[in-house]
Point group: C2
Chain length 279, copies 2
């Protein structure tokens, strides 16, 4: 596995792989089984696999966890090596965002609801960094987890709107045995919080079951979801919603392709999860 | 010369030219000798030359001349053919901006002064459309005229910030024999206005001469420039400035690489021009 830190180095490397089908997994490091499942997908379908590790300052709000975000450099490298990654791109913030940097990419409608409301500059940071990375790596396929469902939709919309020559591949959320969606932020949880947090996926699963069994009234579904969430002590609900799976518009009646979204706080840890369901 | 109207058609064409050095000239049509000089540059340096013609609605303000902007389709095609263009990409607005289109690319600092102040959404429209076109055409080189100097800087900044794999080439402004910079909007001018408009380049030339002969005090230079402009009847000055050629910051003393900028109105036609000078 090659490790490249400079933009120039990456561009030189890329030119030698002109006719290769590159599969790309952009990450912020602190790799877990969720990331590894993305890498396995890329490995299966593409001749060359590139992973980037970059804790992107642009996507953190001023009060968020940028400085304490985990950066286990050595074990991340080891995991990439073991997963058959061909190239690890690991740029520096100084080179990625030089002093005169002033360009941003914004997806308007899909970015302003849900996570966009809770984290006003988040998606602009995500779409800007993903544009830069895609322009550098020029992958045929780029892999994103369903876990960050709104991010996935925002990036798909951007790629389509800007006519980028990359296919965005959605990969299933990987979960702990009790259902908690894997996230690099789970390591912030105390043992007790970790146990409580399993209620998030339990609530979503309950919602999916209700819909599958015929409940259509969204207010009812949401009430039921919240009931499950409230069985966890010290869990604050930020939002719970039944939305159109494409537009993320809040529904009043369950219909078509839907996504159930949840965002909660446990202590000072913010967790999100979602599940898809169709009727 | 091939003419392609659909995005899918262009993408299919592009895949066949994977290892070609493409030179790209994006235009809004109404081609004149200025555009043709860009095409000649591309023809000289690249194996394949692509021209796009697209009157981009995003870069027009609500009170601007989108609907009356000239669209001489037949003669534009003929000029491209005669200039040895390999591919003319001529998309439709409906396909380029479908109903759910919602992504924009923005260069903040360089876009907010001068033309950006006069035309608040203009550069965002330009950078968004150029991003789309560059992603589709994937050129090695893209050619822009110095005539729209701020646009050139904004696009260069964007390409650098977003790590696009394209080199932006600045081409000299082409002028009429009396000095008026060629522009598709010149055809809006009455015969009388056309004569008056030569004062713009005369003023800029005078400014350059003053600096070359040692004048450093920018207020003096600007006064002199305005004096020349005021010899034209019915010409309203929007701005005249001596700026740093890289940052476009207004200078108080002439120094380093500079650009002299002018924007004026003659009747309801808005004209811009600029000249570079170094001390």
């Amino acid at each position: 596995m090659r490790i490249i830190r400079s933009i120039r180095g990456l561009q030189a490397w890329r030119r030698k792989y002109e006719n290769q089908e590159i599969g790309f997994v952009p990450t912020m490091g602190a790799l877990h089984e969720g990331h590894l499942s993305l890498i396995r997908q890329a490995r299966k379908h593409c001749s060359t696999v590139v992973v980037s590790i970059f804790v992107n300052p642009l996507q953190f709000g001023p009060t968020e966890d940028l400085s304490r975000y985990p950066r286990p450099v050595k074990s991340d490298q080891q995991l990439c090596r073991e997963s058959g990654v061909d190239l690890l791109f690991w740029p520096t913030s100084e080179e990625f965002y030089p002093k005169d940097f002033q360009t941003s990419v914004k997806v308007s409608r899909l970015s302003c609801c849900w996570e966009g409301e809770a984290r006003p500059t988040h998606f602009e940071g995500v779409t800007t960094v993903v544009t830069k990375l895609i322009n550098l790596v020029r992958p045929r396929h780029a892999y994103f987890g369903q876990k960050d469902y709104q991010q996935l939709l925002v990036i798909k919309q951007m790629v389509q709107d800007l006519n980028m020559d990359t296919k965005i591949v959605r990969c299933p959320t990987v979960r702990e045995s009790d259902g908690l969606a894997l996230s690099s932020r789970n390591r912030y949880l105390s043992e007790r919080q970790r146990l409580q947090s399993a209620r998030i996926s339990a609530a979503l699963r309950h919602g999916v079951q209700l819909i599958k069994r015929g409940t259509r009234h969204v207010t009812t579904i949401q009430k039921e979801l919240k009931k499950v969430l409230r069985t966890a002590e010290g869990l604050d609900i930020e939002y719970v919603a039944v939305c159109d799976a494409h537009s993320l518009a809040r529904l009043t009646r369950a219909k078509g392709s839907m996504v159930l979204l949840a965002a909660v706080r446990i202590g000072n840890v913010r967790l999100i999860d979602n599940m898809l369901v169709k009727v």
